[in-house]
């Protein structure tokens, strides 16, 4: 019967499609987490096929919160986050988790004024604008920082991210360090209770609102600001210099901090003379003791590659590469990753 033979063929085809073919002999590493580093991670996973054709990566950019939850529940082989895990979160994990910094990002203040002059800010002024204490562009404190700019009595429309994001975390982490009032009233987190302003969804939402509304001031990722040619303010760093946000000044922020052993460090308000003050690492989260020897070995090999050869890729995608001293620290950390007590990366 033609009907039956058609059915047989269909079933056969479905069965064959499900059977593991030769292409499935590879190892699949699953990861999930932060959206901010997603472009560089996917570039890495693609490049890494040339290094080790046996390993394939599957990364779901579901957000840092999701990455932390999934690695805690061991449903992925590695997690990724833009904000370091808290002590409380680390305690919930079934094993010791390592934070491995991969690249750096920065957050810039962008604005919309007639002619878009190059503006300069201090952290104190930015905090007071975001607290709603400075409301006009011709406020004496803004004018004092920008004597040559033509600032009118236009109201400042503050624009912030409405979605929870690592970008917000970095921005408010900086404001917390500069302004005790911000620290006390608002605090730090991927979403906060904003004293003033409008919320835009994603970098594109904030940038769209800033571009559209004259007199607005918002914050976006450095990479987004560069690709979209948005005006970006210079911000005064701890050394008292007004620093333009660039890849170099972002890496300089990473180099200036003495690194704690677990890499859970905030790089905002960094001390280096050339450091841009609103910068941060983004991290991969991996278990110190790997549950699977083959996967564990592939993971440490990949991490080793990422912090060495992989570091030539970030700049093209407008991420800042890791500073050299940090790479040495991560090398040491990487060697501590084990499978049932035995180091996985002995022979490097």
């Amino acid at each position: 019967m033609p009907k039956r033979s058609f059915l047989t063929v269909t079933l056969l085809a479905i069965t064959l499609a499900w059977l593991p073919g030769p292409a499935d002999a590879q190892l699949l590493m699953n990861g999930a987490g932060a959206t901010f580093p997603y472009p560089i991670y996917s570039k890495w996973f693609e490049e890494y096929i040339k290094v080790d054709p046996e390993v394939r990566f599957n990364y779901q950019s579901i957000g840092s919160g999701g990455g932390i939850r999934q690695i805690t529940e061991r449903t992925v082989d590695f997690g990724a986050t833009d904000g370091p895990m808290t002590d409380e979160q680390l305690k919930k994990a079934p094993g010791e988790l390592f934070h491995i910094p991969t690249v750096l990002g920065a957050v810039v203040a962008t604005y919309n004024l007639p002619g878009n002059p190059q503006l300069s800010f201090t952290g104190e002024v930015l905090a007071d604008v975001f607290l709603g204490k400075i409301t006009k562009w011709n406020d004496p404190r803004i004018k004092a920082l920008n004597p040559s700019a033509n600032l009118s009595d236009q109201p400042i429309v503050v624009v912030h991210r409405s979605d929870g994001s690592g970008t917000t975390y970095i921005w408010v982490d900086y404001l917390c360090k500069i302004s005790p009032e911000w620290d006390q009233k608002v605090g730090r987190g991927t979403s906060v209770k904003w004293p003033v302003g409008l919320g835009g969804k994603g970098n594109e939402g904030v940038a769209g609102q800033v571009k559209n509304a004259p007199g607005s001031l918002g914050y976006v990722e450095l990479a987004y600001a560069i690709t979209n040619k948005l005006p970006a303010a210079k911000i005064r760093n701890q050394a008292g210099r007004f620093i333009e946000p660039t890849i170099e000044s972002t890496t300089a922020a990473g180099a200036a901090k003495s690194m704690p052993a677990d890499f859970r460090v905030s790089l905002t308000d960094s001390a280096g003379p050339d450091a841009y003050p609103v910068a941060s690492f983004t991290w991969l989260l991996v278990y110190k003791d790997q549950p699977n020897e083959t996967k564990g070995r592939s993971l440490v090999k990949f991490l080793w590659w990422a912090i060495h050869d992989g570091q030539k890729h970030p700049a093209a995608l407008l991420y800042a590469p890791l500073p050299a001293p940090v790479v040495r620290d991560i090398e040491a950390k990487n060697k501590q990753i084990t499978f049932s007590g035995k180091p996985l990366l002995a022979a490097q």
Binding site: G65, D163, G164, R188, T190, W194, L198
Partner: protein
């Protein structure tokens, strides 16, 4: 073949039909399989809905336990301090949807009446098609259009004019950002117009011609005929059409998030930014890290479900009290 068609006819009369009534063992088996399959799909759908509610309650239990009833009546939303209250989101959802219906219902009914009663027959298909096309536009596209076209227009023209002329009302006070409750309501109204219009048009077309002829025969004008003989006849169906639009407005996420300003505050002015339940879920769920925070967001999801059910229930009640002819309209 013959046995199969008998089985089909038998079951059409009712499931309680004893299998013995249908000739042949094979037909009896077919009937049983049919009954089981149909019942299974009903139970599957019902248990999915029940499972959804159970899962939402389970996941939000921590927030329900911590905040209790306060969750519904407080306005604090501070993830850093771990204080959560849903009132601004409930308010934003209800107000933006009400605003959407306020704009969309007259427009949609007008368009439906034109298409069903007045338009020459050759105009109907293309206009209906164009209106239904609006339903096919992805909501993110509406959102982008909102940011780049609607919001600047509201900020530079509509809001300053409204502020000057009707500024004595609290509804139209405050700085014109463009973004805010008004923009959200307008975007939503455009999104629900195609649903209400096409369902209403079908309902008006289903009104028997004799109704119109009778009214016209009594000397009614065209408008009187439509009002008394057509709209009144189809009113329960028309309420059903509006409900469909309301359901769409309550749950809409992306386009609203892009234009509402995402500020968890209750403001009297339509110019002020607001927030809806669906928007806060879309915005904050991915990066929510603490258990209480996630739990509070899930409770918002649960509340959205409750609000939708309550609003739909109230509207259904309205349909019943309005009564009308047995024809219940389309649901």
């Amino acid at each position: 073949m013959a046995a199969e068609s008998t089985a089909g006819a038998g079951t059409a009369d009712g499931l309680s039909l004893p299998p013995r009534a249908v000739s042949g063992k094979r037909a009896a088996l077919g009937d049983r399989v049919y009954t089981v399959l149909v019942l299974a799909s009903v139970w599957l759908v019902l248990s999915l809905a029940a499972g959804l509610v159970v899962a939402l309650i389970w996941e939000s239990w921590e927030a329900i336990r911590s905040f209790g009833f306060h969750f519904l009546v407080t306005s604090q939303w501070d993830p850093v301090a771990g204080e959560f209250g849903a009132l601004p989101f409930i308010y934003g959802t209800l107000v933006s949807s009400a605003l959407a219906l306020l704009i969309a219902v007259p427009l949609s009914l007008g368009a439906a009446i034109f298409l069903a009663e007045l338009a020459p027959s050759w105009v109907r298909p293309p206009i209906s098609f164009l209106i239904e096309m609006l339903a096919a536009v992805p909501s993110v596209v509406y959102g982008l259009w909102g940011i780049f076209v609607l919001v600047p227009w509201l900020r530079d023209w509509v809001q300053p004019i409204l502020g000057r002329t009707l500024g004595f009302l609290p509804l139209f006070q405050g700085p014109p950002y463009g973004i805010g409750m008004l923009a959200a309501g307008m975007i939503l109204s455009i999104m629900v117009v195609p649903y209400i219009t096409s369902v209403s048009r079908e309902i008006l077309l289903a009104v028997p011609g004799a109704q119109r002829e009778a009214a016209l025969g009594l000397g009614a004008t065209r408008w009187e005929t439509t009002r008394m003989a057509v709209l009144r006849y189809g009113r329960s169906g028309l309420i059903g059409a509006i409900l469909l639009g309301l359901g769409r407005a309550l749950g809409e996420t992306m386009a609203v998030t892009m234009v509402i300003g995402n500020r968890p505050e209750i403001a009297a002015s339509l110019f002020a930014p607001g927030y809806t339940m669906a928007s806060v879920l879309a915005n904050e769920f991915t990066e929510a890290t603490s258990d209480l925070y996630v739990s509070a967001l899930v409770e918002i999801g649960l509340l959205l479900l409750v609000v939708t059910v309550v609003v739909n229930g109230l509207a259904r009640l309205l349909v019943w009290t309005v009564g009308g002819p047995a024809r219940g309209g389309r649901e």
